[in-house]
């Protein structure tokens, strides 16, 4: 099965990412004791295959569950049913630790360029984050060091500054030396213990040996403060600072150059320049920010990239630039895309295969050109005819659907589109249509069309609609 106009070897491509009847039901808690009163069937039994080098688009309106599906495939959410396969391996049940290893080959680009970049980090750190996270596994000490230094300095600051005021014995006044030192000493030790416990809690207790040394160092410093005379405090403070500098700056310098070099290469790959390296996100336009997102996704040279509406927040001309960049990267790096969007013109332009989602289920899937040339499911027909076309002469007759998207907690029985469907007839409200095969991988879930094409007669049994 060749894809669109892309020269591709004929042996069947390896399925990289697949979902098998995956479902995600969010519990809705309400009432007095926050009991579970119902479920939001965001994704309800979806199967999907993404082959290497292909661009598969998932199209649907808001509330269709396409974004939830993306997060399920990336295992940001635990599915409440069905399985997710990545490169043949079932990653549904694996522990989060292992899944985090898998994440190297599967990356995501988010929709809103504004809020998907940390405003307080420079571009270098943002793009370098995946590298830093996966490359330097072996440095637990650094985060502990940061926290230990932070709290010891905090305790010292309160004592030090207090001490400064008491420099002149005449000002000693009511506070006296010993009590205030007690207070500060006690405070800084308590803070240190809490700080380290907090981080240990965060890091998982089994990595204990890493922080034990730092805790001792912290306690000794605090104890020093306890006995230190007035003048020495500044000395102690200075040593703590130097210690912090050596640990932090020195370490970052050594591994810094290598990561910076790779970040610069990534930025140039997506069309940005070296001097953008140390800027903050708010200094960039929407299009540039989306390029940074793409650079970050490419950092671990993944095989599959999931793009959640990457261009819908951008202007027309900027959208064209990003689409061109994506197709160029796909050709150069042999990437595979899973494209989530509601914009049909983008789908037609970039996608090889399309799946149309409605209220948590896939209603039609197949080759892009086939689906646009001959949509089989009524919802797809309405979607294509409703999408505005930038050509006044193409004002063909519009199919305008009545009613609203169904409520996710109580979806309609049988085929979920039947309340708004003009072809609906008796079985539609009772039975759930399965994906009939119209040949050439073009499948659709609609009794009316199936009946017209002789694929379904009222006799054949179909899965009865599961009453919610």
């Amino acid at each position: 099965m060749t894809n669109g106009g892309r020269a591709q070897a004929d042996e069947p491509e390896e399925v990289l990412l697949a979902a098998e009847d995956v479902a995600m039901h969010f519990p809705v808690r309400g009432g007095l004791l926050r009991t579970v009163q119902g479920h939001v069937m965001a994704v309800d039994g979806v199967s999907l295959q993404v082959r290497r080098g292909e661009t598969v688009a998932v199209v649907g309106e808001s509330g269709s569950g396409k974004t939830t599906l993306a997060r399920l495939l990336l295992r940001l959410l635990d599915p409440s049913g069905g399985k997710v396969f990545f490169m043949g391996r079932d990653i549904t049940t694996q522990r989060l630790r292992v899944v985090r290893e898998e994440r190297r080959h599967l990356q995501m680009v988010f929709q809103d360029p504004m809020s998907s970049l940390d405003p307080r980090m420079t571009i270098k750190n943002i793009v370098a984050e995946p590298l830093v996270v996966h490359e330097d596994r072996g440095r637990p000490g650094r985060t502990i060091a940061v926290l230990a230094i932070l709290f010891v300095l905090g305790g010292l600051a309160s004592v030090g500054l207090g001490g400064l005021l008491l420099l002149d014995s005449a000002v000693l006044g009511p506070m006296g030396l010993s009590p205030s030192v007690d207070a500060a000493g006690m405070a800084s030790v308590a803070l240190l213990v809490l700080g380290v416990l907090g981080v240990a809690g965060g890091r998982g207790l089994w990595r204990l040996q890493g922080w034990a040394w730092w805790f001792l160092a912290g306690v000794t410093v605090a104890q020093l403060v306890e006995w230190a005379l007035l003048g020495v405090w500044i000395g102690v403070g200075a040593t703590a600072f130097l210690l912090g500098y050596l640990v932090l700056v020195r370490k970052r310098l050594r591994s810094g150059e290598e990561i910076t070099r790779r970040v610069v290469a990534l930025l140039e790959l997506v069309g940005l320049k070296k001097e953008h390296l140390n800027r903050f996100p708010h200094e960039f336009s929407g299009g540039q920010r989306q390029r940074i997102n793409i650079a970050r996704a490419l950092a671990l040279n993944p095989d599959v990239i999931i793009l959640d509406e990457p261009t819908s927040a951008l202007d027309v001309s900027v959208q064209a630039q990003i689409l061109n960049l994506l197709t160029e990267l796909q050709d150069r790096l042999g990437l595979t895309y899973l494209f989530i969007t509601h914009d049909l013109s983008v789908v037609y332009h970039i996608a090889d295969r399309v799946s149309v989602m409605y209220a948590g289920k896939i209603v039609e899937l197949g080759d892009t050109e086939e689906i646009f040339r001959e949509p089989l499911h009524p919802y797809t027909k309405a979607l294509i005819s409703a999408a505005p076309v930038a050509d006044p002469r193409m004002k063909s007759e519009r199919i305008v659907l009545e009613g609203e998207v169904p409520s996710p907690t109580h979806p309609p029985s049988g085929c979920r589109f039947h309340p708004r469907c003009w072809l609906a007839f008796d079985p539609c409200s009772k039975l759930e249509p399965e994906l009939f095969d119209a040949g050439n991988g073009h499948r659709f879930a609609c009794f009316a069309t199936a009946r017209d094409r002789g694929l379904w007669t009222s006799g054949t049994r179909s899965t009865p609609s599961t009453e919610q």
């Binding site: 940001l76 995501m108 984050e129 996270v133 940061v146 005021l165 006044g173 009511p174 506070m175 965060g202």
Partner: protein, 318 residues
Amino acid sequence: MVVEVEEGTVVSLKSSWRRFLQDHASRISELKYSLFLFRKNRLAVLGLGLILGVIAIALLAPYLAIDHPDLAVINGEIQQRWGIYAGQEFLPPSLGHPFGTDNFGVDWYSKVLYGAGVSLQVGLLVVIPASLLGSLLGLLAGFRGGIVEEIIMRIADIFLSIPSLILAIAITAVLGRSLVHVTYALIITWWPWYTRLVRGQVLTIKERQFVESAKSVGASPSRLMLRHIMPNSISPVIVQASMDFGYVILTAAGLGFLGLGAPPGTAEWGVMISEGINYLFQAPWMSAFPGLAIVLAVLGFNLIGDGLRDILDPRLRR
């Protein structure tokens, strides 16, 4: 200065400083822009002036003052002893005694100067531990969620459901009257405000997309907390801490005024005001000037807090 760190790699401090500058070029330009915004906000500059003034007075009190206390250790506590100058009682404010004198003839101006040091110190010893402790617990509660959050927030709610001054008075009364006990009482009543503030902040930032994208890249929970959530939730803590400096001075002086803080006769603004009440109509300046000093100090910290809020708020910066 050359620092030999590891075998083979000689890292000259000067070159690493140049790279440090280069790395943080835009952070420095952000800093310059913040200073620029700060200077533009006249009230904030006034606030800074007031605070620097109070700090200067606190440090230079011995050189500026006319009278000087001497120190005596009485039952384990170091107390100030101000002399008694017969014949100089109740002198109205004049050139010699800008703030007049009290019933012992001690120059009230000098006492106010020495009071500044004490107030600042109480401020430091309360705000820094309280904000650090409170913020950490807030961070833990906001990020870990579940039982940890439930316990921490319930404890914070309990402390917050008792008006803070009442609780402070109760604690000082129980522990006995002294300025150190006042600092303990204020730390205990003040930390919950920071926990609630930071928890709210963490919960909003946790939902932001850049945290989710960091998670999708494989960042571990502690990295998320340290690198993403904490930097973004620090600014409201800074604003709150700078304002709380003023409120702590206000409350500590209040406790002193009620007779629960420093022993009578000490150069502490609250105590001085309460001593002034007995001679209110005879020597009104005795209560007026220490109160004024409190107002100026607290005002300074408030203005700085407001100024910082405008600068640190990303929306207003543009």
